[in-house]
Symmetry: none
Subunit: 224 residues, 4 copies
Amino acid sequence: MARPKNPTDAAQPATPSEGEPEKRRAILHAALKVFAERGYHGCRIADVASEAGVAYGLVYHYFRNKDELLESVFDEQWRIFIGAIRAISEGPGTAAEQIGSVIRFALDVFRTAPEAVRVLILEVPRTPDVLRAGSTRQTFEVATRLVAEMVQRGQQGGEFRTDLDALVGAASVLGVLDMNLAGMVTGLLTAPLPSDEELERMKRQVVTAALGAILVPGSAAPAR
Amino acid sequence: MARPKNPTDAAQPATPSEGEPEKRRAILHAALKVFAERGYHGCRIADVASEAGVAYGLVYHYFRNKDELLESVFDEQWRIFIGAIRAISEGPGTAAEQIGSVIRFALDVFRTAPEAVRVLILEVPRTPDVLRAGSTRQTFEVATRLVAEMVQRGQQGGEFRTDLDALVGAASVLGVLDMNLAGMVTGLLTAPLPSDEELERMKRQVVTAALGAILVPGSAAPAR
Amino acid sequence: MARPKNPTDAAQPATPSEGEPEKRRAILHAALKVFAERGYHGCRIADVASEAGVAYGLVYHYFRNKDELLESVFDEQWRIFIGAIRAISEGPGTAAEQIGSVIRFALDVFRTAPEAVRVLILEVPRTPDVLRAGSTRQTFEVATRLVAEMVQRGQQGGEFRTDLDALVGAASVLGVLDMNLAGMVTGLLTAPLPSDEELERMKRQVVTAALGAILVPGSAAPAR
Amino acid sequence: MARPKNPTDAAQPATPSEGEPEKRRAILHAALKVFAERGYHGCRIADVASEAGVAYGLVYHYFRNKDELLESVFDEQWRIFIGAIRAISEGPGTAAEQIGSVIRFALDVFRTAPEAVRVLILEVPRTPDVLRAGSTRQTFEVATRLVAEMVQRGQQGGEFRTDLDALVGAASVLGVLDMNLAGMVTGLLTAPLPSDEELERMKRQVVTAALGAILVPGSAAPAR
DNA sequence: TATGAATGAGAGTTCATTCAT
DNA sequence: CATGAATGAACTCTCATTCAT
């Protein structure tokens, strides 16, 4: 059974774009870290600057203001995640396999870049309206809709139950993923830095639960 | 099939406690509203006071500081929710029925007090560490563990699949609930103020999806 | 020859308005002083606050922002000046006498409150557009028009030459006044703090020059 | 009656000085424009540079700092104006005729280079002390004294009244000029861009008013 | 209890100036 | 000469908290 190749490495900068100034990247990187550690309001521009090893004013050389900086961080992270979802969606495999891949990808990223996940999962959906009104909000919807498309395909293929709206199915899948990630991030479900085995175990369980929410009852969970 | 009595009214003040000053209640109530509207950092003490129709300084008469005020709001809301879960848990019905009841209860509350849900679902898990370190965090864990107990009981009774940790099962159930509520709050899944039928439809779907995540595959979803 | 009573005391707060908080007055007063000393951009809110012997934040308790504070200062000063012009205009005396009174009034104020004059004369007409767009600008026009009315009356009465537009006449009178005051303020024309005699001498000269600009040539300058 | 040749073209660079780098001139020119548009504090080095179509840092290659740049602008403009006054002063004609020429010259410049006038008239006398302490201040005094010399000559020749100090006379003449120009700049007295006739009319009136301030009463205003 | 004026530390943003290339 | 990235001090504005009444 074919399995889409795991695009984990996408967690690296979406656009290493030759021309991008090194310090701009450093700032973006630092912002991700500081933001993950302290949350939107807890992080000050000064923190970002010093974390990036850069002068205060340089942040404003590259970004109009704090909101734009953080929006950039969000956008970049989401772009990576969406890129992965899209790649998986366009790849081979049944709908169930694809959704399993999405979940495994997310947990893999958590392993290599927990801050990124923390930011996406814990901060993004709950930041001020100014921010939510921006592209971030739309991006979030895009992700949901991409998953909803997978769900719909699965419903049409007879894999997934049809008594759920595709959007509700997508929300459920993402909810299972989100809450389990949150539990991992906060240490409720696993050690803060889980071992490889622990991670594999979680992957299996989260996939099982997420698919359980949408599979036609009685169908076997896909071998993994 | 017995169904636990729906403790919807618990959304009212947990403790109308005879002696509690009227203005204190007004402040708490206003804080919930303002907090739901603007989020933790977006709401200023001045907003709360004016929403409550009360003098600025009075807030500090009843609450040591902003954190304590908001912690009180959280605690109260969670106490209500936990009270409901506990009541359901100690009531009649199978584990699956109980979990269904929990979900239906949450959606009912969303209907009557969307702000409360918004606060619990969108704000609580993402507020600053100071706050998270407080009782709120523990309260959140308590809720998770209560649901995990239900899951465990269901596993022992053969209803729920045993290839999931009870905590993962609980997280999955709550994740499905959370994300669908978030979708309702943000208008992605339903109109901002859904009709009765829409709400019932959502209840059915969310219960289906949540139970799907943990039921032994092939078992019939419980009639509702 | 009747001479309008000199409303010098109008230099005091236009509205001692019973209800006005003492500290608000202190801030306004301090702002006038600091603004006169350092100019619009040279004065910082911190300067105003400390000059007023008041906490930083209190300035923002009474005024929305720096612009509003300074606009208030301007407005108050102009209101005083306009009040005086109006009183003179409605009082007895020929047009020439009235214009003489306006000039003498201005020089009197310079004696008792040089800062106020400095602000009105040196700063107002040259501050940022935001400010000029506000009520200050209109107020300045009002003053000009009031003087223009006097000029017009004098033209109709045969005192003043009619080959000047009334507005040009007014601008000329105010120009003579302004530039001579500027010369006094900057120490080019008199000692920074002129003696009574010096002041009287200046009054006579400025009145002479200003009326010369508009009187029918050959008419005697009005006795003073 | 001979009339000094009108040195209008002096509004061009005083010293096209062979060796002066083209870009330096561009910066100076841009600075005049930007400064006229936004005032001393409203204009940033970045504005000047981009207006001049020149790199940021180049401004600092040619000028030590912002103050020096603006001082240079002032100096240049004043040098032009003073050069004109001096030329007129050393030329033929009575004192009254010469003063009339000065005023007409100023209004002509306003026609061709309103920004320059705006800067000289509206900005120079009201900029920070640091600046005023520089050569600009002295330059301004020089202009006043040159006019005062004309006045004095007129007084000695019996044209002008002797009950005014020469400096007061000069201040009055310049005051009439300044305020009427200000009125034109701000649109209170004429359309922002007056027609030729309007301008001629203003010239006549302003000369009339200015000379009226200092002429021996009864003497005929000089034919124009 | 109740009020709201008063306080001041903190954070975002601007912009003149420097400097490596 | 020319460029523009980099620096950081300075200043405005916010808002939690205190306190006299």
